[in-house]
């Protein structure tokens, strides 16, 4: 139940901001940090100053894979968008603006259009519980080495423990390494009734209450997310490479070195994923154990098949779990 409204003051500024936001799609997003101690730490680690020994962003293979999968997901979600529901949402926002401007007739007209559009959705797709209205891609990539990454949850935990929830929220807001496809949906079981109720309030001259009812209706928009956590996908890339090598019979010395490097890289990616919190400590402890087990069993150039099934399934399970976040009812970006 969250309402997020962004007001952009001019079309020109809006266009500029949009341009910048588009840039963010391909850029790393710097986190907002409110804690002086962490501030000092991050100042010591200028953006882009990566430790040479550790990968700071997905490998080119993973990047390409994430880009391909996210684009596919976005395309599929955009194809799902219900145009009439999208129009109903736009009319809801128009009605709020009209009420704010004292234009009751305009607000009633907008809500009548919204209701008509929603009736069309219900008639055409009676089975639809959530009507998708928009889909976007967002990339959040916190830049820093493993120590810098670990410092953020430590600070956030301190902030939470001392009741500074807004500090914790800001600390964590840009703390991720992921590509997200986010879909906004109208809850069809409740939204149409809420719009009708707002129209009734307007008819009764209760404009403030109507505006409140509309804001509350917007706050019921359900956001679903498909998350592609970069370090976990990176770990899969390295594990797949290691798997191919392990299954190679009569590995050369060079291939054995490559196997060691691939498993090392997988472990490092998992450490980053753990530091970002894409799973519980226990889950990651098990994964490290599996890597150690693979290392032990493949020593001396032994070729084995089926050794990676468990670990790959577990990592893929964590990737799938990243999308199953509990905040199914979430923000509702509005732009004007």
């Amino acid at each position: 139940m969250i309402l997020r409204i962004r007001h952009h003051m001019t079309e020109r500024e809006n266009a500029e901001l949009k341009h910048e936001e588009n840039k963010n799609m391909i850029q790393s997003r710097t986190p907002r940090v409110a804690i002086p101690a962490l501030l000092a730490l991050l100042l010591a680690l200028p953006i882009g100053a990566h430790a040479q020994s550790e990968p700071q962003s997905p490998t080119p293979e993973t990047q390409a894979e994430i880009g391909r999968r996210a684009e596919e997901e976005l395309k599929a979600r955009k194809a799902d968008v219900v145009v009439d529901a999208e129009a109903a949402l736009a009319q809801t926002k128009r009605a709020i603006e009209a009420i704010r401007a004292g234009d009751r007739a305009g607000a009633i007209a907008a809500l009548a259009t919204a209701t008509g559009k929603l009736e069309l959705v219900i008639t055409r797709r009676p089975e639809l519980a959530l009507a998708p209205v928009a889909a976007i891609i967002e990339v959040v990539d916190f830049i820093g080495d493993i120590d810098a990454i670990r410092a953020v949850p430590a600070e956030a935990s301190l902030a939470l423990a001392s009741g500074r929830y807004q500090s914790a929220r800001l600390l964590l807001s840009g703390f991720a390494s992921e590509t997200v496809v986010r879909v906004q949906n109208l809850p069809m079981a409740t939204y149409p009734a809420a719009i009708k109720e707002a129209a009734r309030l307007l008819d009764a001259g209760r404009d403030d209450e109507a505006a409140n009812a509309l804001r509350a209706a917007l706050a019921t928009i359900v956001v679903t997310e498909t998350v592609f956590p970069h370090p976990l996908l990176d770990a899969v890339t390295h594990l797949e490479a290691a798997k191919a090598l392990v299954e190679t019979e009569g590995r050369s010395a060079e291939q054995n070195q490559a196997l060691i490097a691939a498993l090392d890289a997988a472990r490092t990616s998992l450490e980053r994923a753990e530091a970002f919190g894409y799973g519980t400590r226990r889950e990651f402890r098990n994964l490290y154990g599996e890597i150690r087990d693979i290392e032990r069993r493949t020593r001396g150039g032994v070729s084995i098949t089926g050794l990676f099934t468990g670990i790959l399934d577990s990592v893929r399970g964590l990737i799938a779990g990243a999308s199953g976040n509990p905040q199914q009812t979430s923000g509702n970006p509005q732009q004007k």
């Binding site: 309402l3 997020r4 882009g48 509990p326």
Partner: protein, 299 residues
């Protein structure tokens, strides 16, 4: 059902926070004030700097398309625009380019807020930071006015450095540098925490009533209600973390003291001074909160 499960339930079936008419009136006042502040800040926007930022973004597009000539032309114009800005006001450190206003309202009941907060704490304890992050992402009730500015101490020099890299045919490095330059845009936030501002609005109303010597029974009821609603909003503010436990303990003690003083229809002056002053101090501290964060982003 343990607390975490209750939190998950609260997320699935959140109880809407129903505003009272007085709260709605207070919210309208906050919205109006935010709009006026935004408009006032917009007057400071430097058109040449805004144009310089837009052209920088275009230059990056050109570089991405390996169009060095277009990029150079655009960056020359950027430098020219920025020279105009600095010539006009040599002491200007930050040239505002855009002002935006954003409202985040977690419109769920106080009990629901507590459950989300507790679940976020549990997630952090278990190392599930991303789960905590998503729970807290919109855990706020505030309007933020964001002023985006070009840092004049570094931005023009960075543009010149990009031009030098393009001249040396290092287009990839130039693009990287330009991305970092675009990311150096400073965002300064003015935070308006709703529950605290609503509480302040209600306390103003309560103060006017408490100063009235011949309160009617209806006015007496309104005074009680205003104090109750102010206390409820302070509780929401505390759960959302807009202040320390100490701040809120003092506020609640001061409200209790006011209730005692006003009991039996008594009236008086100055009862609200300490409370309102404490609230204003807190609002001032929170207003500054994100400016610090943005200071880091600027570096």
């Amino acid at each position: 059902m343990n607390d975490a499960d209750k939190g998950a339930e609260a997320m699935k079936e959140p109880q809407t926070h129903v505003e009272t008419p007085a709260e709605t009136a207070a919210r309208a006042e906050i919205e109006q004030s935010a709009r006026e502040q935004t408009e006032a800040r917009r007057k400071d926007v430097t058109p040449e700097a805004a144009e310089a930022l837009r052209m920088t973004a275009q230059a990056l597009d050109a570089l991405n398309a390996s169009d060095a000539d277009t990029a150079i032309n655009l960056l020359e114009s950027v430098t020219g625009k920025l020279e105009i800005v600095t010539a006009r006001d040599p002491n200007l450190a930050l040239a505002p380019v855009a002002v935006t206003m954003e409202t985040v309202e977690v419109a769920i009941s106080t009990a629901g807020l507590e459950l989300i907060r507790d679940e976020a704490r549990d997630a952090m304890r278990d190392g599930e930071v991303q789960r905590a992050r998503r729970l807290l992402r919109d855990f706020a009730s505030e309007t933020i006015i964001t002023i985006r500015s070009l840092p004049l101490a570094t931005y023009p020099a960075a543009i010149k450095e990009v031009v030098r890299l393009i001249d040396d045919d290092k287009l990839s490095e130039a693009a990287q540098k330009l991305r970092k330059t675009l990311a150096s845009v400073v965002e300064t936030d003015i935070v308006l925490p709703h529950p605290l501002l609503i509480a302040r609005h209600l306390l103003r109303e309560a103060q006017a009533l408490s100063e009235k010597s011949d309160r009617s029974s209806e006015e007496e009821a309104r005074l009680t209600k205003a104090l109750d609603e102010a206390a409820a909003n302070l509780e929401r503010a505390e759960i959302l973390g807009y202040g320390t436990k100490k701040d809120f303990r003092e506020f609640h003690e001061q409200i209790a003291e006011i209730r005692r003083k006003a009991s039996g229809g008594k009236s008086g002056m100055g009862w609200f001074d300490a409370l309102r002053s404490g609230l204003d101090d807190l609002l001032g501290r929170l207003r500054h909160r994100q400016a610090k964060a943005e200071g880091k982003e600027a570096t």
